[in-house]
Amino acid sequence: MASPRVFILRAPGTNCDVETAYAFERAGARADRVHVRRLLESPSLLREYQILCVPGGFSYGDDIAAGRILALQLRQHLQPVLEEFHAGDKLLLGICNGFQVLLKAGLLLPPDEDGVVPATLTWNDSGRYEDRWIHLQTTIEQRPISCPFLVGIERLELPIAHAEGKFVPRNGETLARLEAAGHLVLRYALPVGTDCPQPEPATHSDGRLPFPFNPNGSAANVAGVCDASGRALGLMPHPERFIDTVQYPRWPRGWTPDPPSGLTLFRNAVRYFA
C-alpha cells in the first residue's frame, strides 16, 4: 500500500503542526496541514486520509479552557464525519492540545451514563506552564486494548510542555472503570537504568509519583489514554519533539534512546497501514 495520508488539523493558535507533519513524513507518511475552516466547509475532505492528527498548540488561545473551543466545534459540526472516519479502521492522534481537544470533544473516552465525560485535563498542580523531559511507560502487560501507536513500546522519554495536563477523572469508580477497561495506556514513570540514577522518591498514598516524575499531578500517573478500539490515542507529551537524536537533552553525554522514542510512535502509525 502507498504511504498513508495524514490530515493535520490546524486551528487558530495551533503551533506544532509543521513539526508534527514533518515527523509523520520522516516516518513514511504524507501529511497535509489543513485549517479547521476548510474542514468545516467540506467535511468530506477527511475521507481521503487514513490518519487524523490534532497537534499541539493553543487552539483559540486555550481561552475558557485548554482545547475547549475547538472541541466544541468538532462536537457541534463534525461529529458525523469523525465517527465515519473512526469507524473506517483509521487512526486518530491528539498530541498535547490535541489530546485536550479530543478528550473534551468526547472522542476518546465514552461518556458516563449521565452523559458527562468521565475525565478531563486541567491545571497542573504547580499552577503553571512547565516544559521538561519525562519518562513514560506503557501498560503493556494485560492490556485489554491494543493501541496500534504503542505496539512494541514499553518505555519512552519525551518532553511535556503544558499548563493544563493534569488528568482528573470524575471519581475513583470512574478511574477504576477506565483502568480496568484498559484506556489508560500511557503513564508517567520513574527513570530506569544507570543513565539517571535517582534515589527512590516517596510516592503519594494514591500511587501518584511526586513532581517532577509525574509533572502535573495526574491521577494514576496518566499521560495518555486511548479509546475502546485503541485506534484513537491522546497524550500530553510531544512525540514529534523526539524524532532525531539531537533533540534528546542528554545527547551530548553520548547516549540516546535508539530509535528516538517519538519516531517509533509515528512509524507504528504508518506501519498500521502497511
Binding site: 475558557i64 465525560v117 519533539r241
Partner: protein, 970 residues
C-alpha cells in the same frame, strides 16, 4: 439582559488561583488569619433565556469534572452567596477599552454554539474574610488588580450593561501653533504628551508659519511620533561633542561613526566573503544562514509599559519584537525568542518601595508570565535569557525581548511601489497604546500610572499567530511588495516609513475598529497590537483577501501609495493632514549634545583575610552561587516552551538531570539540516560603575564567549546592541554611553564580530513623589547570534566522564572590581576586568578548533563568580566531582591572591573538560594560549580547590546545587 456566570473549583478540587494569591500576599506581609476563595467569570450581554445561559455554562464555560458554576442575571442574590462563611465579594474587571482576548474568543464560541451574545466581558471574582479595611485595600492594590488596566468593584456589580463606546462625531481639530511663544510651545509639548524639545517645537511652528496655516492635531501627533526618541534615535544618531581623559571627539552621527562604522569596515574587509545581508536599515538585522535562508535578529525593550503593568508590558514587548523579523524583508518566520530582564532584588521590604512603583517580586512574576503567555501561544521557543538584579532598577525595571526569524534569501528585500494599496492586516484598532512612542521617551514619575495608562496594553497572541500564518503564505505566493509592522507610532510610523520615498494617502474611516468612538487622530496614532501594513499591488488584492478570509484574518485596504512625496490623511472625505514627507523625515533640527566622561579613580580592594593562603573560601562560593544574578533561573526557564518547532539541540538547562546552566542555546531552524543557530548574551551593569568602556567590552566578550563555548565558529557571530541608560541630558550620563559605544566599535573590529542592529532606551529614571531621582545603572545588553555548520559537534557544560582532564583556558588577572565576590562580601574597589582584544581573538579561534576537532567533552565560560562558580556548575550539572589545583591557574601575576584565582572575572576564559585520549591534541591546538591543566573529573561527589597542598574550598556538589537552586525556586 446582562448575565453573570461565576465558575468555582468543584468540591474537593484545589483553588489554585486563591493559593497563588495567598502566597503572594504572604510575601508582601499580608499575614494573619484571613481566608480567600477565587472564581473566574463571564458577563454575557444578550437576549438569552436562563436555560440557554445554563447550557452555555455546562457545555462551554465550565468543566463539569473539576468545576461548578452559578449563572444568573447581574444583581441576582444567588451571585452574592459566599462560597464560605462570612466572605465578601470583590470583582476585578478590565477597564473599558482594555483588550480582553478571552472575551472575544468566548463571544465567537457562543456564536458557534448557535446563540447570540452582543458583548462578553471576563472578570475575576474573589471572596475575602478576615481582613481589615486597610489590609484589604492593600491586597486589592498590590495583588488582586492593577489600576492601570483593571477596575475593582466591592460587593455586587453596579451596572446593567457592558459599555461598548459612544459613536464618534467628526470634528476637524487644528492647533493654534503659529501664535505660540516658547512657554506655550513647551506647555503643549508636555501636556499633549508630545515630549518634543523646544527647538523641535519651534521648528514645527516655523514650518507652519511658512505654510500660512496651523497644523491639525493629527499632523502634530505624526511629527511628534516620527521625531520621538523611540522612533528616530535622534540622540545617539545625532551630533555629540564628547570628551574623556584622553579624547575630544565631535560626532556628526555618533552611532554611524562608531557601531555602524565598525560593521561597514568589516564588510569592506571581507569583500566577497561578506555574510551580512542587511544591517541597520530594516526592522531587524539580516545575515546569511545557508544557501536558501538568511536569519533576521532584533532585540527591543519595553521598559516603561512593563513598569506600570508588568504582564501587559512584557506581553506586548515580546509580541512587538516578534513582528520585527515578521516585518523584515518580505517577512521572516520567527524561530526563537530571547528575554533579558533587570529587576530590583525581589526581597526588598514593601515599605522601601516608593509610591507609584510595583514591588519587584510582582514585576518579575508579571513580566515572566507576560513573556510566557505570548511566546508559548505564538509557538516560538524562548531559548535564551538572563536576569540581573540591582536596587537601581526599582522604579525602572528593564525588559529586553528579542526574536530571530528565518527569511528565504530571495525574500530579503522589500520596496513599496507607487500605486500599491495600503493594506492593514491583523488586529483591529482601539484606543490602546495611545502615546506609547512618545511616552517611552519620557522619564517615569510616581504619577505616570494615571498620566499614561493609555500606553499600557494587553496583547492577543492568537491574533498575531493567525496574522503570521497568512503572512507567510501570502509572502510565498508573492502577493505583496513590502511589509512592516505597526509598532510604536502605529499607522503613523508604519505608513510614514513605507511611503517615505513615495507618498501616501490614507482614508482613516476605513480602518476597522474594536469599538466605536475613536477620533481620526486616535485611529492614526493608536498602537494597538497585532497589526501589520502591506503594500499590495492592486491585481493581487483579490487573492490576498481570499487567503485572509479562509483563515479568519481581517485585511482592509486603507489607502494607496501615491508618487506625491506627501502624506495625506482623509476622514469621511475631508482632508485632516497634508504633510511633506521630506519635512516629516528630515525636518528635525539638529541638536548638539555635550557628553563627558571621567573614569572614577581606581580604589584598592581590601582583601583582608581572603588574601592569605589560610582562608577557607567555601562559604564565599556558596554565597556567589546563591546570589540572585548567578543562581538558577529554572523557575523562569521551565515556564517557557523552549522546544516548540522541534529544532531544539542544546536546551537552556543541560546535564545529567537537565538542570545545569547552558552557556547558549542551539537550535536547527531547518529540520532536515544539521546546520544550527546559537543564541547567547552578555551584560555587566556592575562593571559600568567602574568604566563603561570595559563594561561594554566585557559584555561583547561574554556574548561571544558563550557562543564559542558550545562550539560556534567565532567568525560567524553577529551581535546586537541595546543601550538602556539614564537621563542623557546630563553630559556625564551621555558620556558614559558614548564611551561604551566606542568600546563596541573597537571590540567589534578586533574580534571581527559585526553589529547588525540595535536599539536604545534613554531616560530610564524614576522621579519619586519626593522629587528624588533613581537612575538605572548603565545597562548595555549584547545579544549574539552564532552559527554552527553541524550541531552534532556542539558541547555542553556538564562534566561527562571521570578521568578526563580539566583545563583552564585564558589568563587570570587580579580583576575583582565589580565582581560578584565583591558583591556578596559587600566590598567595593578593585580593578575592572579589561578585555584584551588580541588574546580574546586568539583564544576563541584556538578553542573553536579544539571543539570542532572533538577534543572537548565539556566547556563552560567563566563569568560572574569566575573559576569557582564555573567549576561548581560543571560539577553539579554533570554529577561528578573534581579536585582542582589553583597554583596552576595561568596568570601573568605569580603572586595572584587565591581569592582572585577563584573569583576574578577576567575576560576570555573557559573551563574545559578534555577527552582523556585527546589531551595531547587539545594542548597542541591551544599551544599559543595561556592554558593549564588544573586536575581531572573524578567520581566523587566533592568539589575541592587546592593551593599549596591545602584545600581552600571543599563542598559536596549536591550542597552547591542546592545553594544555587534555592533562591529563585518560587
Amino acid at each position: 439582559m446582562l448575565w453573570e456566570v461565576d465558575i468555582y473549583p468543584a468540591e474537593g478540587q484545589a483553588d489554585l488561583a486563591a493559593d497563588q494569591i495567598w502566597n503572594d500576599a504572604h510575601d508582601l506581609g499580608i499575614i494573619g488569619p484571613w481566608r480567600l476563595a477565587a472564581a473566574r467569570g463571564y458577563l454575557i450581554q444578550g437576549d438569552l433565556a436562563a436555560e440557554q445561559v445554563e447550557r452555555l455554562a455546562v457545555e462551554l464555560l465550565a468543566d463539569p469534572v473539576v468545576e461548578r458554576f452559578t449563572a444568573a442575571v447581574v444583581g441576582d442574590p444567588r451571585l452574592l452567596v459566599p462560597p464560605q462563611e462570612a466572605m465578601t465579594p470583590i470583582y476585578v474587571l478590565p477597564k473599558p477599552g482594555v483588550m480582553d482576548p478571552v472575551a472575544l474568543s468566548t463571544q465567537a464560541a457562543i456564536r458557534d454554539f448557535g446563540q447570540q451574545a452582543e458583548a462578553v466581558r471576563t472578570f475575576r471574582k474573589y471572596w475575602v474574610a478576615g481582613l481589615g479595611a486597610e489590609e484589604l485595600a492593600k491586597l486589592c492594590a498590590k495583588i488582586l488588580a492593577n489600576d492601570a488596566i483593571e477596575q475593582v468593584v466591592h460587593g455586587g456589580l453596579p451596572f446593567q450593561r457592558i459599555e461598548q463606546g459612544e459613536p464618534y462625531r467628526f470634528r476637524r481639530v487644528t492647533v493654534p501653533l503659529r501664535a505660540m511663544d516658547d512657554d506655550a510651545l513647551m506647555r503643549l509639548s508636555r501636556q499633549g504628551q508630545l515630549f518634543l524639545s523646544l527647538p523641535e517645537m519651534q521648528t514645527i511652528r516655523d514650518y507652519f508659519r511658512g505654510l500660512g496655516r496651523d497644523p491639525t492635531d493629527v499632523e502634530l501627533e505624526t511629527l511628534a511620533q516620527t521625531w520621538s526618541e523611540h522612533c528616530s534615535h535622534k540622540t545617539l544618531a545625532g551630533r555629540i561633542d564628547y570628551r574623556d581623559e584622553t579624547r575630544h571627539i565631535r560626532f556628526q552621527n555618533m552611532l554611524k561613526e562608531t557601531i555602524f562604522a565598525a560593521t561597514l569596515e568589516l564588510r569592506r574587509r571581507w569583500g566577497d566573503a561578506d555574510w551580512c545581508v542587511s544591517v541597520f536599515e530594516d526592522n531587524a538585522g539580516v545575515v546569511r544562514f545557508d544557501e536558501n535562508y538568511n536569519v533576521a535578529f532584533k532585540v527591543e525593550t519595553h521598559n516603561h509599559p512593563s513598569a506600570l503593568e508588568p504582564y501587559g508590558g512584557a506581553n506586548t514587548g515580546i509580541g512587538g519584537v516578534i513582528r520585527d523579523p515578521m516585518g523584515t524583508g518580505l517577512g521572516a518566520k520567527p524561530i526563537c525568542n530571547t528575554d533579558v530582564f533587570c529587576f530590583a532584588p525581589p526581597d526588598i521590604p514593601l515599605d522601601e518601595v516608593p509610591e507609584g512603583v510595583l514591588h519587584p517580586r510582582r514585576v518579575m512574576k508579571g513580566v515572566v508570565a507576560g513573556v510566557r503567555d505570548y511566546g508559548n501561544r505564538m509557538g516560538i521557543p524562548t531559548v535564551n535569557g538572563a536576569v540581573y538584579f540591582d536596587r537601581r532598577y526599582l522604579g525602572n525595571p528593564l525588559v529586553y525581548c528579542g526574536n530571530v526569524g528565518l527569511l528565504p534569501c530571495d525574500k530579503s528585500r522589500k520596496e513599496a511601489r507607487p500605486g500599491d494599496l495600503i493594506v492593514a492586516l491583523g488586529g483591529r484598532t482601539g484606543r490602546d497604546g495611545i502615546h506609547g512612542a512618545t511616552f517611552s521617551s519620557a522619564e517615569l514619575t510616581s504619577d505616570s500610572e494615571s498620566l499614561s495608562g493609555g500606553a499600557v496594553q494587553i496583547g492577543n497572541a492568537i491574533t498575531e499567530k493567525m496574522l503570521l500564518d497568512v503572512l507567510l503564505q501570502a509572502r510565498d505566493r508573492g502577493l505583496y511588495h513590502a511589509v512592516t509592522d505597526c509598532g510604536a507610532g502605529g499607522f503613523s510610523s508604519a505608513v510614514g516609513e513605507m511611503g517615505a520615498e513615495i507618498g501616501a494617502e490614507v482614508e482613516l474611516d476605513r480602518v476597522p475598529l474594536k469599538y466605536a468612538g475613536l477620533s481620526y487622530c486616535e485611529i492614526w496614532i493608536s498602537e494597538a497590537q497585532e497589526r501589520m501594513v502591506l503594500a499590495v499591488p492592486e491585481e493581487h488584492w483579490p487573492d490576498l483577501h481570499a487567503l485572509c478570509e479562509a483563515e479568519g484574518v481581517e485585511a482592509t485596504v486603507i489607502g494607496r501609495f501615491v508618487p506625491t512625496g506627501r502624506l495625506v490623511l482623509h476622514y469621511q472625505g475631508q482632508e485632516v493632514a497634508n504633510l511633506d514627507m521630506g519635512f516629516l523625515h528630515d525636518g528635525r533640527p539638529p541638536v548638539v549634545r555635550q557628553a563627558s566622561y571621567t573614569p572614577p579613580p581606581e580604589t584598592p580592594l581590601p582583601l583582608g583575610g581572603a588574601s592569605t593562603g589560610q582562608a577557607d573560601l567555601t562559604a564565599d562560593l556558596y554565597a556567589v552561587l546563591g546570589s540572585p544574578n548567578v543562581c538558577s533561573k529554572h523557575w523562569i526557564i521551565r515556564q517557557y516552551d523552549h522546544e516548540v518547532q522541534g529544532g531544539s539541540v542544546i536546551k537552556p538547562l543541560v546535564g545529567i538531570r537537565d538542570d545545569g546552566p547552558s552557556d547558549a542555546a542551539v537550535l536547527r531552524p531547518v529540520l532536515d539540516s544539521y546546520r544550527g543557530i546559537v543564541l547567547a548574551c552578555g551584560m555587566n551593569p556592575r562593571y559600568g560603575d567602574l568604566d563603561t568602556y570595559w563594561m561594554a567590552a566585557a559584555a561583547i566578550d561574554e556574548a561571544v564567549r558563550n557562543c564559542v563555548a558550545v562550539g560556534v565558529d567565532p567568525r560567524r557571530i553577529a551581535i546586537l546592541d541595546n543601550f538602556c541608560w539614564g537621563n542623557i541630558d546630563r553630559p556625564e550620563t551621555l558620556g558614559s554611553l558614548v564611551r561604551a559605544a566606542l568600546a563596541c566599535r573597537d571590540v567589534a573590529l578586533s574580534l571581527e564580530t559585526p553589529f547588525v542592529s540595535g536599539k536604545d532606551s534613554l531616560n530610564n529614571e524614576f522621579r519619586t513623589a519626593g522629587g528624588e531621582f533613581i537612575a538605572i545603572p548603565p545597562s548595555l545588553l549584547i545579544s549574539a547570534l552564532g552559527q554552527i555548520d553541524d550541531v552534532r559537534l556542539c558541547v555542553t557544560m556538564d562534566w561527562k566522564q571521570p578521568g578526563n582532564p580539566i583545563y583552564l583556558v585564558g589568563a587570570t588577572a587580579e580583576e575583582l572590581g565589580g565582581s560578584h565576590w565583591n558583591l556578596v562580601r559587600g566590598l567595593s574597589g578593585g580593578k575592572v576586568p579589561r578585555h584584551n582584544a588580541e588574546a580574546a581573538r586568539r583564544t576563541f579561534t584556538a578553542l573553536h578548533r579544539a571543539i570542532a576537532a572533538g577534543c572537548v567533552a565539556a566547556c563552560h565560560d567563566l563569568s560572574e563568580g569566575g573559576l569557582a562558580a564555573a567549576a561548581a556548575e560543571m560539577a553539579f550539572a554533570g554529577g561528578f566531582g573534581a579536585s582542582l589545583n589553583l597554583d596552576a591557574v595561568p596568570t601573568p601575576n605569580p603572586d595572584l591572591p587565591i581569592v582572585a584565582r577563584l573569583f576574578s572575572e577576567s575576560n576570555s576564559r573557559f573551563l574545559c573538560e578534555v577527552r582523556r585520549d585527546r589531551a595531547a591534541d587539545f594542548e597542541r591546538l591551544l599551544h599559543e594560549i595561556p592554558v593549564a591543566r588544573l586536575g581531572q573529573v573524578n567520581d566523587t561527589s566533592t568539589l575541592a580547590f587546592i593551593s599549596a597542598q591545602r584545600e581552600v574550598v571543599r563542598a559536596a556538589i549536591q550542597d552547591l546545587k542546592e545553594a544555587w537552586q534555592r533562591p529563585l525556586a518560587w
